[in-house]
């Protein structure tokens, strides 16, 4: 049975630089938990603190209810898949996978059975006698995965495991990882900077920026209800527009005027008056003809992508925004120079404080 992991106010400092700044989160037993953020945000540092390769300068990490801060890395019972796979080059595939079992003094006859079972799970049983130098990147990745799961670890850690694979293989592997994780029910902490991968694979995502957690939620909530402007901007594409709440009614209906001139009303969850900014995703824009509703603008650039067309639209205010229009909704293609109007449904957008730190919708 794998562990639940609890991270409490954890801090990592390098001289003056705070790489991990007071991070807390709860990871349930069997959960697929992803640390997502731009490079240098501290996500790998945190993963290596859990693994025991980085010391913990403050706070505590628990496996179930046991503090692991001072347990040495080799006694933590963790499986880890490294970004560059870290396959032992002088050992065969079989010996690589058997390595952790031998360290655990598993009887010899059981080792063979367990290794073969693990190789079967990642579909490379036929490669068991190969040397790592004879394997492709994808095959090495599978060896690394088999080596980490064969020991039935309390926690499985994965550090950008797919970043060295080509696009097609990446999608294929992430499905395999996801299935395996559910089948074996291992608590998994996964680090990536690829938001699409994070959305596709995770039960829960923690978005990290500059050593701090920005939001922890399910993939759908992260995408639909970003807690701040950073998350809105980092996950998918968001168009930010400035404006202000002119009036807030008793029933929390806000009357908002954008700088581009558009006015609309929507319900808020928290009180705010004065300057705000809103974020609108490209697919949330409704593209109207120039005489229709919304903010007038002109198409500067369009990219046809099959199921939809992506426009760069220059608004009257000078701001450039992105909008998508789906092929199935139109029977002609708009082109550069065409005038249009952009509208949106207020229910689908997010309203943030002027500095973007807080969400009000």
């Amino acid at each position: 049975m794998s562990h639940s992991v609890k991270i409490c106010n954890v801090i990592k400092k390098y001289d003056d630089f705070i790489a991990v700044n007071d991070i807390s989160c709860d990871i349930q037993q069997g959960e697929f938990f992803t640390l997502l953020g731009p490079s240098g945000c501290g996500k790998t540092t945190l993963l290596r603190m859990i693994a025991g390769f980085n010391s913990i300068d403050g706070g505590k990490i628990y496996f179930d209810d046991k503090v692991i801060n001072n347990i040495e890395a080799y006694k933590r019972d963790i499986g880890m898949v490294f970004q560059n796979y870290a396959i032992f080059p002088h050992m065969t595939v079989f010996d690589n996978v058997a390595y952790g079992l031998k360290a655990r003094k598993v009887p010899k006859e059981q080792i063979e059975a367990k290794v073969l079972e693990a190789l079967e799970l990642v579909q490379i049983k036929n490669l068991k006698d190969r040397k790592p130098s004879e394997l492709s990147g994808g095959q090495q990745q599978r060896v690394a995965l088999a080596r980490a799961i064969v020991i039935k670890p309390g926690v499985l850690l994965m550090d950008e495991p797919l970043s060295n694979l080509d696009a097609k293989l990446r999608v294929q592997m992430r499905t395999i990882i996801r299935k395996l994780q559910k089948e074996l029910n291992i608590t998994t902490i996964y680090v990536t900077h690829d938001q699409e991968e994070a959305l596709a694979i995770s039960d829960k995502i923690a978005i990290i920026n500059s050593g701090r957690i920005m939001q922890i939620d399910s993939p759908t909530t992260i995408y639909k209800k970003p807690r701040n402007a950073f998350v809105a901007g980092f996950i998918g594409t968001s168009n930010f527009m400035e404006g202000s709440v002119e009036q807030l009614d008793a029933d929390m209906t806000a009357h908002i005027r954008l700088k581009s001139g558009m006015e609309f009303a929507m319900k808020l969850k928290k009180k705010i008056q004065g300057p705000i900014k809103i974020s609108v995703r490209p697919e949330q824009f409704i593209v109207n003809d120039p005489d229709g509703m919304g903010i007038p603008g002109e198409i500067q650039m369009y990219t046809f992508l099959g199921d939809f067309a992506n426009y760069e639209v220059k608004l009257a205010s000078g701001q450039v925004v992105e909008a998508n229009e789906y092929t199935k909704d139109i029977d002609f293609i708009r082109n550069i120079g065409h005038k249009i109007c952009l509208h949106f449904n207020p229910e689908n957008i997010s309203v943030f404080s002027e500095d973007g730190m807080e969400v009000f919708s």
């Binding site: 025991g52 390769f53 801060n69 499986g79 396959i87 690394a144 080596r147």
Partner: protein, 556 residues
């Protein structure tokens, strides 16, 4: 975190495996490298009543007898470096850019001439062109007087032929790893072949060439055997150090100390200049596509091969001469007609102790070198800290200390209790370890840099402690680098003369010491037989090296 737990952990980690190794190594290096070094500096500034004096330095810079040797050393070393570059660079260009016959054989000959015992070159050239040399006598019969091989010209000739392989090996390495696109880009921009070589290829390999040239210079500056044998009246610094010390045996080593300090200053200065130049002018290249090795017409190919073969043959000639002379009948110091094994009979009767010494001392030294070399290179590469930085710096030291100087400083430091080592086998072994370990460390480190930290982390993560991970994973992966470095350490140890000649006593004389004394005694036949034993041992070791490293690790 509670305080008791934290302090217990820090005490425990203080005694962890790598910390123990770190402090033990530091202690050993301080005792056997830093302490002798400071002893000799201290000696050079003290008079016979232990007071401070600059008298020895003043003597050195004012008396022509002393000062001239510095000039001689610098002139011979510089000139040898220039010639080595003039031979090494074109040769490297030919073999790295054109298909020639027997390329492997040519490389092997050149490497062997670099790895030959240090004085064999001088000795063989004396056999050929000396006063009673084969060639001299041949020309004398024809009524032609050959120019004297003794003195300045001979030293430069031998240094050039022995050390040009440094330039050759460094430069051909660089030449064959320049990305092809660099020269293609120049060609594409309308640059002619010669222009391309002068404006692109040469500047790019400049730092490597400089490194090779520095090796030639430093090796020439430090060499003791060659100028001692062939220099006669023309004295260079290391020879003077030896003579000063030997003539003062039982007295003090102050003048020799001052001379030692001057040599070390020279070589350190040169090394620093090189570091400075390289740091300002080194290029990071991503070599995706190595340059094309050109196919040329049969005639041209034959011509290029001939050039390479001639150079390689001349460089290797001394070793052939030595082996042949070892089989010639002798009558005292004079060679007579006919072949025999009597020189070998003599050495096995008279000098088998020296042969035993060479191989047993070297064997002990190499075991220590392998163990410490492995641990130290791991500390320096993977456990970066202030102390490992100091270790790294200290390990560079033997590069700038000539063997004769190291020998003297160890004698000065260890000729009184508590460490009374002079005359023992231990002091020779220690000197070998200190002097030859850098080879092993360098090639182990080169391999270690390529081992990603995640490999070790993967092992630790799978439940194997860091110390066991080192032996199960890291040590195995380092093995080829350690082994090829160790073979180099081994070859240079069995051939070591300059520190041995300072440190030996009757019981601990080695083969190279015996060759030296036999030559001085004009017993050329036995000297040649001893040298042949060394040459054969060296060649066998080199073959082992090329088999072990499979061409992946280079000699320099």
């Amino acid at each position: 975190m509670n305080a008791g737990k934290a302090s217990r952990k820090s005490i425990k980690s203080y005694f962890d495996f790598w910390n123990v190794i770190k402090y033990v190594s530091l202690l050993l290096l301080i005792v056997f490298l830093v302490y002798p070094f400071f002893s000799i500096i201290f000696r050079s500034f003290s008079n016979n009543h232990n007071g401070f004096t600059l008298q020895y330095y003043k003597t050195f810079f004012t008396k022509a007898y002393y000062f001239r040797t510095l000039k001689n050393s610098l002139v011979t070393s510089s000139l040898s470096t220039v010639f080595a570059v003039l031979i090494g660079v074109p040769l490297a260009y030919i073999t790295s850019r054109f298909h020639v016959y027997w390329k492997k054989g040519i490389n092997m000959l050149i490497i062997m001439s670099l790895m030959s015992p240090p004085f064999i070159g001088a000795y063989s050239w004396i056999m050929m062109l000396g006063r009673n040399g084969v060639v001299t006598n041949l020309f004398a019969k024809l009524g032609i007087t050959t120019p004297s091989i003794y003195g300045f010209g001979g030293i430069v000739l031998v240094f050039t032929l022995k050390f040009f392989p440094y330039v050759y090996l460094y430069v051909s390495g660089a030449m064959s790893s320049i990305d092809r696109s660099l020269e293609e880009a120049a060609e594409n921009l309308g640059s002619s072949k010669l222009r391309r070589i002068l404006t692109i290829t040469m500047p790019v390999i400049m730092p490597t060439l400089a490194a090779g040239a520095i090796m030639v210079f430093m090796s020439s500056l430090a060499d003791f055997g060659t100028p001692m044998l062939i220099g006669e009246g023309y004295k260079v610094l290391p020879v003077l150090v030896y003579e000063e010390y030997m003539s003062e045996m039982g007295g003090n080593a102050n003048m020799a100390g001052a001379l030692s300090v001057i040599i070390i200053c020279c070589s350190t200065a040169v090394l620093l200049i090189q570091k400075y130049v390289v740091s300002r002018k080194s290029y990071i290249m991503t070599s995706m596509r190595p340059p094309i090795v050109e196919d040329v017409s049969k005639g041209k190919k034959f011509f290029l091969t001939a050039i390479c073969m001639i150079v390689a043959f001349i460089a290797f000639l001394p070793q052939i001469v030595v082996v042949i002379t070892s089989f010639i009948k002798t009558n005292g110091p004079i060679f007579v007609q006919g072949f025999s094994l009597e020189s070998y009979e003599k050495i096995f009767y008279k000098l088998s102790k020296n042969i035993m010494n060479t191989f047993s001392f070297s064997l002990i030294a190499i075991v220590i070198i392998i163990i410490f070399g492995m641990l130290l290179s791991y500390l320096v590469v993977k456990k970066k800290s202030k102390i490992s930085g100091i270790l790294d710096l200290l390990l560079m030291f033997p590069y700038v200390i000539p063997g004769a100087v190291l020998g003297i400083s160890m004698l000065v430091a260890f000729n009184k209790p508590p460490l009374m080592l002079s005359g023992t086998a231990a002091i020779m072994i220690i000197a070998y370890v200190v002097r030859k370990m850098p080879y092993t460390i360098r090639s182990s480190s080169a391999l270690l840099y390529q081992i990603e930290p995640s490999i070790e982390e993967a092992s630790i993560n799978l439940g194997v402690s860091p110390m066991r991970t080192f032996f199960k994973i890291t040590a195995r992966m380092m093995a080829p680098g350690v082994l090829s470095g160790a073979i180099l350490s081994w070859i240079t140890t069995i051939n070591e003369l300059s520190s041995s000649v300072m440190l030996y006593s009757g019981k601990t004389a080695t083969i190279s010491v015996a060759i030296y004394t036999e030559v001085v005694r004009s017993s050329f036949g036995t000297a040649a037989a001893l040298a042949s034993i060394l040459t054969v041992a060296t060649i066998l070791s080199l073959l082992l090296f090329s088999w072990v490293s499979k061409g992946k690790v280079s000699v320099v």
